[in-house]
């Protein structure tokens, strides 16, 4: 219907086409900027916004950079219209990376959208947020993803799975564990659509973390047929890798057919001969073919062996190893094999992939066939044949891909495709590449019974208008004739006819024909004498130099065979001598060689005649223009001097001897049986079936060979228990007691390595708790050398989800379950989680918590010194130096104001007059200052700068400190001020410090953790940094009294944070650890609230590492204000990471 439509449209006049295009977006595409886009974007009508966005999209499509509209476009994220949203998202994704700061502005809207009731809106928000690719929001995205991974809508969950690779792509190492855990979680989903996307995420995020698959292997296999086609392709590959890594190769499969037990000895021998080079491979090949398979007939184990090793190691590695090392054979022998007959996992994989062979998606069929090819028992492999052949009846490009794969399969097991030879007959629509592949396959799979029909076809192909293809056919005929001596004669006849009828334009066919004839004759020269004579006769008409060269080579090679050839030889030689001068170089060389050989084989009576011809030709050759020929002539003359120059009969004994030597030498050189180089390329590269690398024959980016068989740890209890969970296996009962729900966390992260030891430690403390605290306090007594109780033990061991640990739950904190979970970012998910099952998982990290003591640092406030920044340098200010430091005092005027301590110092010798700081845009004089004051206070809004009192006089080297109240309108942008002094103005910039946009919010630890529990998920931001200040502090801290390392570290950190930010230090938790040097688990908590809106803001520092090493600190900020929280986090990380002053 549509095509008819199009046809009429074409036949109509151009005017009517224009009519047709009315109402489409064509005008937007053709002239996108014929209106001013900017006002449209600010319009209050959605339709106008839409139009503007479409215009922008058109400009993007045409390759223009329209990123300058970014701020205006981002504003529209808030639009309620779905279409505007969609268009904005399209724009955002295109430019977000270019304009990171503006893109950040949209984050809050995304977060709002993530809570929308419409799943489409949630999904779009997630997709866009993840697609923005800004490092700073990666933690936010991760939280959003983990929330969406539990969304009720399948579509949203699918998008969550798709978002994981995007987050992973940012390469933030601290997120890797969390991402992998999410992949595992999504693989556990019960919707096939999600599983497909999760499989894709797995493949791009953590393709080697096969233990994630192990948890769900059975279920994944069973849902495989329901997964959408694109996911199927990925999932099949993953399952195959898992099965091999877990169980190894199947011993009945093709892959191991060459490694049968009785073959191992010969295998080792064989690989030895292999090292020497390829010259024996043909003979060896023949030998191995006798390794007949009962069900499938011949299977070329040599090829199979290379194929399977290439699959496992990657061809490049394999080939290089093959060249240098001699251990390869034994290395693979040591592997474990499994059997498809009694291994349930392999059985189920094969069972669930076999219906996929009927899929209408070619790629799925290919992937499923690959699994069967590698894993299925040999007798079952037959079932992949028909589906593969069916694939050929699709587009030309997929035909090529399928044929590439069939080519390898048929090389390894020719019998597989032998009955289906008809499918490889050419069709006129085939491209040359496809035809060439088909020919190769046909000549591989030809059998005694099919060869005659194949030859019939070949004869037709020879007349094909595509001469290159015809030449290839001739080559294939040659190959087949060598394989089947029965048909060799008919072949020769056909080829001879072809050679004699070939016209000048047909050099390529002719050459191939002669080459094939030569190869066939080489198999059995004596019975093909007539053919040789025929060829020699046609020398006159064949003008292609290479073809002539080959015929002349045959003359020399077979000069002593049969009866006819020796008779015609003198004539032929004379003919060659006559036309020697007009021949091409390669023919000349062959003529010289041939003459040499003839002379060598000739009998006494003809010797004289031949000798004459040869010396005539050598004379000609010596004067040739080409130095190769002159060389060859000299060489032959020297070598055959005994034959040529035997005119004198008087010879010395020594001469006789050297003559014998050269005779032997000549015999070796000319008469040696030269083996035709093997046509089989054993260095051919084999890649996994269905992979891109296999088509292009080099490792494409991302190509991975199969994992090492059985490389997956058997001992991993979680895997075993799940296998057991799927179906009980006899003989593997040891782990059956472990229940399924416990597993996910015990395999997931690095945390579990600690878990066992810490766990037992906590238990032991808990046990001693009942008998009295003395035990613990004595262990800490060396800390108690201070006069004041710096450290008091508030808690030993945290509330524990484990019922056994209940005995030492501290009543005071029993309500704050989230207390210690800060170690794991995953813990926040308890908030997001509605699912009681995974809620149980989350109790796991809590059992990992270390027991710890709480210390209070009361005296450090004396050491807190705010950082002083220069506002005006004396060099620039005529000797006036102005410094400022943020003050922890709070403004009494407005909560929006930040207090600054500004100190004016006169470094010059002259007194200074009328100093004042004013806002940049206010050009006020000092005289009307009072009116400005009243004016501003009457205003509702707060000015950027509360006007300061003018300093009337500042004497030389006098310093005056003034408290200034400033309102920063932006977290990061500096405030521009003007400094008046002696009637001159100096522009100065006041840089905001986000650490002073908060005021301390005193609270105790209980309130802190309760508040923290209210701010999980997307309100939590974490980053890691390295802290080194304490090392210097510890080194100089040798004085007595401060010898506790933890205390020093805590003080260092607390002082540093408090010197730079206006926070309240809530608590310091110290790990009680066996290792005194281990500072891991040390935890500082700070609290504050935003000046502007009193939103609480919590900061937690968790340390990792040992005391005298740089410490790895996890900084966590919990705050409702997203952008503020992120900026604060960055600020804290920066200040911690920068080394201490002085």
């Amino acid at each position: 219907m549509f095509t008819q439509f199009g046809a009429t449209a074409e036949s109509l006049s151009k005017a009517s086409t224009m009519v047709f295009r009315i109402g489409t977006d064509a005008h937007l595409y053709d002239d996108p900027d014929d209106v001013n886009i900017a006002p449209l974007l600010d319009s209050k009508f959605d339709s106008e916004k839409c139009e503007a966005l479409k215009r922008l999209l058109a400009l993007i499509a045409q390759g223009f950079d329209v990123s300058n509209f970014f701020p205006q476009v981002v504003k529209n994220v808030a639009s309620q219209s779905i279409e505007v949203k969609k268009l904005v998202y399209l724009y955002l994704l295109h430019y977000a990376e270019k304009r990171p700061n503006e893109a950040l502005l949209s984050i809050n809207y995304f977060q709002k959208d993530l809570g929308d009731t419409n799943p489409l809106v949630r999904a779009w928000a997630l997709r866009t947020m993840a697609g923005i690719r800004l490092h700073v929001i990666a933690p936010l995205v991760l939280v959003a993803v983990s929330k969406c991974a539990r969304d009720p809508s399948v579509y949203v969950r699918k998008c969550a799975a798709n978002a994981l690779p995007k987050v992973h792509d940012l390469r933030l190492e601290e997120n890797t564990a969390a991402i992998e855990e999410l992949v595992g979680f999504l693989l556990n989903d019960n919707s096939p659509g999600v599983i497909g996307a999760a499989a894709a995420a797995f493949a791009s995020v953590c393709p080697t973390n096969l233990s994630l698959i192990g948890r769900n292997y059975r279920r994944l296999c069973e849902t495989l047929p329901d997964v959408e086609e694109w996911g199927q392709i990925v999932l099949i590959g993953i399952l195959l890798r898992y099965a091999i890594a877990r169980h190894g190769l199947v011993k009945e499969s093709i892959m191991l057919s060459s490694r049968d037990l009785e073959n191992i000895a010969s295998e080792n021998g064989a690989s030895d001969t292999y090292q020497k080079g390829n010259e024996d491979s043909n003979a060896y090949f023949g030998l191995k073919e006798s390794n007949a398979d009962l069900t499938n007939g011949v299977c070329k184990s040599e090829v199979v062996d290379i194929v399977s090793r290439s699959y496992l190691e990657g061809p490049d590695k394999y080939l290089s190893k093959h060249r240098c090392a001699d251990v390869l054979s034994s290395e693979l022998e040591g592997l474990h094999f499994t059997s498809a007959k009694d291994n349930e996992d392999i059985k189920i994989l094969l069972l669930c992939t076999s219906p996929l062979l009927w899929s209408h998606n070619s790629a799925v069929v290919l992937a499923a066939a690959g699994v069967h090819w590698i894993m299925a028992p040999k007798e079952d492999i037959q079932k992949i044949v028909k589906p593969l052949l069916f694939l050929m009846r699709s587009s030309n490009s997929s035909k090529y891909v399928v044929l590439c794969n069939i080519q390898v399969f048929s090389k390894a097991v020719p019998s597989l495709f032998a009955p289906h030879f008809e499918d490889f007959f050419m069709s006129p629509s085939d491209s040359y590449q496809v035809k060439a592949l088909k020919l190769e396959i046909l000549s591989t799979i030809a059998t005694e019974s099919s060869i005659s029909s194949i030859f019939q076809e070949f004869q037709d192909y020879v007349k094909d208008p595509d001469r290159k293809f015809a030449a290839d056919t001739v080559a294939a005929i040659g190959l087949c004739a060598q394989q089947f001596p029965k048909v060799a004669n008919t072949c020769l006849e056909g080829l001879l006819a072809l050679a004699s009828h070939a016209t000048d334009g047909e050099a390529i066919v002719l050459l191939q024909a002669i080459y094939s004839i030569k190869a066939i004759i080489g198999k059995d020269p004596s019975s093909n004498e007539k053919v040789i004579v025929h060829l020699i006769r046609s020398l006159e008409s064949i003008r292609v130099p290479a073809a002539r060269g080959m015929i002349i080579w045959m003359v020399g090679e077979y000069s002593d065979i049969g009866n006819v050839i020796p008779k015609v030889l003198p004539v032929v030689l004379k003919y060659l001598a006559r036309c020697f001068t007009v021949e091409e170089v390669e023919t000349k060389l062959q003529i010289l060689n041939a003459c040499g050989k003839v002379l060598l084989h000739s009998k006494e009576e003809e010797l004289w005649a031949y000798r004459k011809v040869l010396s005539y030709m050598l004379d000609l050759a010596r004067c040739d223009l080409n130095y190769d020929i002159r060389d060859r002539a000299r060489f032959i003359k020297e070598l055959l001097s005994c034959y040529i120059g035997s005119s004198d009969t008087e010879e010395g004994k020594a001469q006789q001897e050297s003559r014998d030597v050269s005779r032997v030498l000549a015999g070796r050189i000319f008469g040696g049986q030269i083996k035709a180089p093997s046509s089989e390329q054993f260095s051919a590269r084999f890649y996994l079936p269905g992979s891109l690398s296999h088509v292009v024959l080099h490792a494409a980016p991302g190509y991975e060979p199969l994992p090492r068989p059985c490389s997956l740890n058997f001992e991993d209890p979680s895997i075993n228990s799940n296998i057991v969970e799927g179906a009980k296996r006899p003989g593997d009962g040891a782990t059956q007691s472990e229940s399924y729900t416990d597993d996910p966390d015990s395999v997931s992260g690095s945390l579990n390595e600690e878990s066992t030891s810490d766990y037992s430690y906590a238990d032991s403390i808990g046990g001693s708790d009942g008998t009295g605290g003395s035990n613990v306090s004595s262990s800490l007594s060396e800390v108690d050398v201070h006069k004041e109780p710096l450290i008091h033990l508030s808690e030993v061991g945290y509330p524990n989800a484990n019922p056994d640990g209940g005995s030492h739950v501290d009543n005071q904190y029993s309500g704050s379950n989230n207390l210690g979970e800060l170690i794991s970012t995953r813990s926040l998910e308890s908030w997001l989680d509605e699912n009681p099952n995974s809620g149980h998982n989350l109790s796991e990290p809590s059992s990992i918590r270390k027991s710890s003591a709480r210390i209070s640092i009361g005296h450090i406030h004396g050491r807190v010194e705010p950082k002083i920044c220069a506002l005006l340098d004396p060099a620039n200010g005529n000797g006036l130096s102005v410094d400022y430091a943020f003050s922890s005092e709070l403004s009494s005027l407005s909560p929006l104001l930040v207090c600054l301590q500004v100190s004016f110092k006169n470094c010059s010798t002259e007194p200074m007059m009328n100093l004042q700081l004013v806002e940049d845009n206010k050009r006020q004089d000092s005289s009307d200052h009072a009116s400005a004051m009243t004016e501003s206070s009457s205003h509702g809004d707060v000015p950027s700068l509360v006007p300061m009192e003018e300093i009337a006089n500042l004497g030389p080297s006098e310093t005056i400190n003034i408290m200034l109240q400033v309102r920063f309108r932006h977290h990061l942008l500096p405030l521009k001020l003007v400094l008046w002094c002696n009637g001159k103005t100096y522009p100065v910039k006041l840089r905001p410090d986000i650490g002073y946009f908060v005021r301390p919010l005193p609270m105790d630890i209980g309130v802190f953790s309760a508040k923290e529990a209210q701010l999980p998920g997307m309100f939590e931001y974490t980053r890691r940094c390295i802290f080194t200040d304490h090392i210097g502090e510890l080194k100089k801290g040798d004085k007595p009294g401060t010898n506790d390392q933890f205390l020093v570290i805590c003080e260092c950190l607390a002082v540093k944070v408090l010197s730079n930010a206006n926070f309240f230090l809530v608590s310091v938790d110290m790990p009680v650890s066996a290792n005194l040097d281990d500072a891991s688990g040390l935890r500082l908590r700070f609290s504050g609230e935003l000046l502007s809106n009193s939103v609480p803001c919590l900061v937690t520092l968790v340390l990792e590492g040992t005391c005298f090493e740089p410490l790895n600190i996890l900084v966590k900020v919990n705050c409702e204000e997203t952008v503020f929280g992120l900026n604060l986090l960055n600020r804290i990380v920066n200040l911690l990471a920068e080394p201490a002053r002085g």
Binding site: D25, I60, L87, W358
Partner: protein, 378 residues
């Protein structure tokens, strides 16, 4: 994983650019691709699907259509691919998410200036286990049509023997049923099928055990199954080319006639062949139908229906290039035909059963056979 998609016009300029992952690809790469005119050697299955969906939406795929609807194309691409991985490719779902352009929306946009083709709600089918079906479609007509559409591939060698003859067939279903119907289709002679491929809606277990197609159909036209029947013996028409060369002139005659009467009218018969490059000029006259020789030396003889009174034949002479006595290469004749009303493979539908339907729908069955790669060598 796809990194980006560029849509190029016929002249090689970029019409549309869509970056899919963070690793941006510059559009200058297109120029290189255009110069190389890369033969599509790789499994571009997904790209094919994208092209299918696009042409389905736009009613074709050309420069103007893409320009007309570039917003829709952008929106579609965005829905179909996420980060280089296919997201939603099921046409039914896409159709609900992004409305295809149609006259109504065009008129609406002219009149009111507003039209949104983006749906406000997520199609319910995304969550269902039968994503190919809209949830609860309402159809006024209650009918289902099953077509067997077959293509016959055959190779007839120079000496007139049938080298290979097989049929590639599709079961095309056009269903307009309400609710969530469950259909069962069985064949009278399923054993002749050599190999099959199914639409995802087909349940594979019943086929494995009893060779029954059990499925919940998508709405509208779709390809339920494709199959292959090999080693057929009967071809409906014969084409006998004869070429004989003599002193630079090649006489050609082609005869066409019925070989095994399918008992249904054969129409749209065409014979096409490529004149070898060494042919300088051709003088061909048919006794029925018309002959066209195109610029690329393709000679096409369209016969249409076979006349009752005579056997159509084409005869004439080819003048060979100077110096050539005889024709060195021989063209292959591509034959086209159509047989309405029968499936030449002999596949027969046994019955079509319904479950889960309030009223019995109207059922219709049809057969159609076309020539596929039907080639006669000379």
């Amino acid at each position: 994983m796809l990194q980006c998609i560029f849509l190029l016009s016929d002249s090689g300029e970029v019409l549309l650019e869509k970056q899919l992952t963070g690793h941006r690809v510059d559009r200058s790469i297109c120029a290189w691709f255009w110069e190389q005119s890369i033969a599509q050697g790789d499994s571009f299955k997904f790209l094919c699907r994208v092209a299918d969906v696009l042409s389905d939406y736009l009613g074709g795929l050309n420069e103007d259509l893409i320009k007309d609807n570039f917003v829709i194309v952008y929106e579609l691409l965005d829905e179909m691919i996420d980060n280089g991985f296919p997201l939603t490719t099921e046409p039914n779902i896409l159709r609900e998410m992004i409305a295809p352009p149609n006259i109504v929306s065009k008129v609406l946009s002219v009149v009111t200036g507003t039209s949104s083709n983006v749906s406000n709600t997520l199609p319910v089918a995304t969550a269902s286990c039968v994503p190919w079906r809209k949830m609860d479609p309402k159809n006024t007509s209650n009918e289902v049509y099953v077509d067997l559409v077959e293509e016959m591939d055959a190779i007839i060698s120079r000496d007139g023997t049938l080298v290979k003859c097989e049929i590639y067939g599709e079961v095309q279903v056009n269903s307009h049923l309400s609710g969530l119907p469950d259909l069962t289709l069985s064949f009278a002679n399923a054993s002749i099928l050599n190999d099959v491929r199914f639409h995802p809606c087909v349940r594979l277990r019943p086929w494995e055990s009893q060779q029954i197609l059990s499925f919940v159909p998508p709405d509208g036209q779709f390809k339920l199954m494709s199959y292959r029947v090999k080693k057929l013996k009967n071809i409906p028409i014969y084409v006998k080319p004869q070429l004989s060369s003599d002193s630079g002139i090649c006489r050609i005659s082609v005869l066409v006639g019925i070989k095994n009467d399918p008992r249904k009218p054969i129409d749209s018969i065409t014979v096409e062949f490529q004149l070898p490059p060494c042919v300088l000029s051709a003088n061909l006259t048919p006794n029925h139908g018309t002959v066209n020789i195109l610029a690329n030396k393709t000679c096409s003889w369209s016969i249409g229906r076979l006349p009752k009174d005579k056997a159509p034949s084409l005869s004439g002479t080819l003048v060979l290039a100077a110096g050539l006595e005889r024709l060195p290469v021989f063209p292959t004749f591509q034959v086209g035909f159509r047989v309405m009303g029968t499936a030449l493979s002999g596949l027969q539908i046994d019955k079509l059963d319904f479950k889960n339907l309030p009223s019995r729908p109207y059922k219709g069955f049809r057969g159609l056979t076309r020539a596929g790669e039907y080639q006669v060598r000379s």
